[in-house]
Symmetry: C2
Subunit: 357 residues, 2 copies
């Protein structure tokens, strides 16, 4: 067991593979999540790759296939930084589990999401060097970690459309919050795909394959798809871009508090190509709303933290929030409407029950 | 009164200014809406501009301000076509009005939306010729129609971010479904901003002003904003990009039908930077859903029509639909949650009551 698996400041759902989310109070109030408390989602053991040994091979529909070391990546391309929120497709699955069981999937709460400053090179620049052919349409990432929950077991992988891969914001990152990327978070080098589910930000990436169709990897073709109730594995549409979402970080569900002014805080994330326009908070199940104060955004790919002080009388109360994106799209009311067999993409209004005394 | 104001195949809400929506059955089954039945939203009288006299002036934060005639536009830039859905920000307002009155706003049903093939030149190409300065951030469009409902009255206008203006899909269009753009729809030349509310697709555009901030026009600074309940005019965030939406076109609400197989059809529109991933239809208020068949998409800026045959027994039934966008964002359940003082952006699940006999 590595030291990171013993951290008592994380909610560890599994140790092998290591899956841990950040408790709400640890996420609250900090736009950048410290490396130590950044959520971790894994499908296999953490590879131990010496930075000097790491290579990434670019192959497939390319005019100039190439293999790059970390030194070549650093020396050959302009360095880029992006502040990006990474959110697991299963973030907030617990809200769906309360509707109906979802066997075999991690019961993530609000904390399968974190934000960091990522430093590396733009995938667009690397692909330009390799020269995608005219029939290129998707870019697949593959890692060396063998996922035991793939069927049959295979290395973790997935793909994104070429248009996203060359848009500029996708990074091959070697640093996180100005520190070398630790193995737990994909070091020596990982992909960061801002605005997409975390599964596409493939850690320990060693192969980038340009294709004419999406990856056939189990985690693209079978898992991480939004399917209707009763669907068979592999049905549904593939998850990639993420939508507006928000959750309440403080107070925590079930908190016992002094009646009077109560500070409520949380995050809101606009997702792919959308900002956060407004966050509303209600203590009367949506009959009346007040607008939360939004922290400034550090960039287009980051969540925005929010906060508000509510004056709550003695008794039980449910605090609800809802975020609107810049396309005036509001979160749906109820997780019951969003239930799906994979337990993905829950972006219903969050609700926290508190007891004021 | 012009002949178009007498059409009995449109739902005419107002004649001066002329505001008319397309009945559901006229929209159903045709990805491209015929010019004759394309919805019309106006704030003032329709200008009568001779194509030979029309000019557009590009001004503001430009290195090379210029004025172009229609002939110069046609001869000087590559011709571009885009199939784009245009949707009024108030489309489906009737669903919000059923919650609470919204004085002075048109009670649009499902038909303040239509789709056409637009031909013209890319605004990106024209702006490249004019050379936006480094402090350019927004592009304002102004038309000569004086809007009586502006306060004080002023020509209609609005703006979009420069990034959108130069992305390629924004068109200065002189043709609609391969016919010269009629005056009612903005001829000789209008702007078409795919993925944005119809108000930004300014008709009869005669001035394009590059600015460092959004337009101060009444229809950008005061109207067409999403505000919380109880807000004063001008509060709220400006509407631009639109979100996932869908409505049922056939059968119409209140229809009396033969029990048995009932064909249900409608549209779904992913909006800005999103496709339509799935449409579900329910005849039991969302307890069970079936997936509708989606028509192929003619491009990234178009709605997708959908259809399904439901077997409905005798009695009253409510047919409900919901669309999911490619970011796994589903429409919210209830219009009551979306009510806002301007009556904009209703994208709640549509519901149609039918009587089976």
């Amino acid at each position: 067991m590595e030291s990171w698996a013993k951290r008592d400041d994380m909610i560890v759902h599994e140790t092998e593979p290591y899956n841990a989310e950040t408790p709400g109070p640890a996420l609250a109030g900090r736009t950048l999540t410290p490396v130590e408390t950044f959520y971790a989602r894994n499908h296999g053991p953490i590879p131990d790759i010496d930075p000097g040994d790491w290579r990434v091979e670019l192959a497939g529909l390319l005019d100039r296939p190439l293999t790059l070391s970390l030194a070549q990546l650093r020396a050959g391309f302009a360095h880029r930084e992006v502040i990006a929120t990474v959110q697991c497709a299963g973030n907030r699955r617990a809200g769906l589990l309360a509707v109906r069981p979802i066997p075999g999937e991690t019961p993530w709460g609000a904390g399968a999401i974190s934000t960091a400053r990522w430093t590396g090179v733009s995938l667009a620049d690397v692909l330009a060097e390799a020269g995608p052919r005219h029939d290129a349409a998707h870019v697949e990432f593959t890692a060396p970690d063998v996922a035991a929950d793939a069927c049959p077991p295979e290395p973790f992988g997935g793909s994104i459309p070429l248009a996203k891969a060359v848009a500029g914001e996708v990074i091959l990152a070697w640093a996180m919050n100005d520190r070398p990327l630790p193995p737990l978070h994909g070091g020596p080098v990982r992909v960061v795909v801002p605005g997409y589910i975390g599964a596409r930000s493939v850690k320990w990436v060693t192969r980038i394959t340009v294709r004419d169709r999406p990856s056939g990897n189990y985690f693209q073709a079978v898992r991480y798809r939004l399917a209707p109730a009763g669907a068979d594995p592999g049905e549904g549409f593939p998850l990639g871009p993420v939508a507006i979402n928000a959750d309440i970080l403080t107070p925590v569900d079930g908190a016992v508090l002094a009646a009077g002014p109560v500070s409520v805080s949380g995050y809101a994330f606009g997702g792919e190509h959308r900002g956060v326009a407004r966050v509303d908070v209600s203590a009367d199940e949506g009959r009346t709303w007040r607008q939360a104060d939004l922290d400034p955004t550090p960039g287009p790919w980051s969540w925005r933290l929010w906060r508000i002080v509510l004056d709550l009388p003695a008794g039980a109360a449910t605090v609800t929030a809802r975020a609107w994106d810049t396309a005036a799209c509001c979160q749906p009311e109820y997780a019951a409407s969003l239930w799906n067999p994979g337990g993905y993409a829950n972006n219903a209004w969050p609700r926290v029950r508190v007891d004021l005394r």
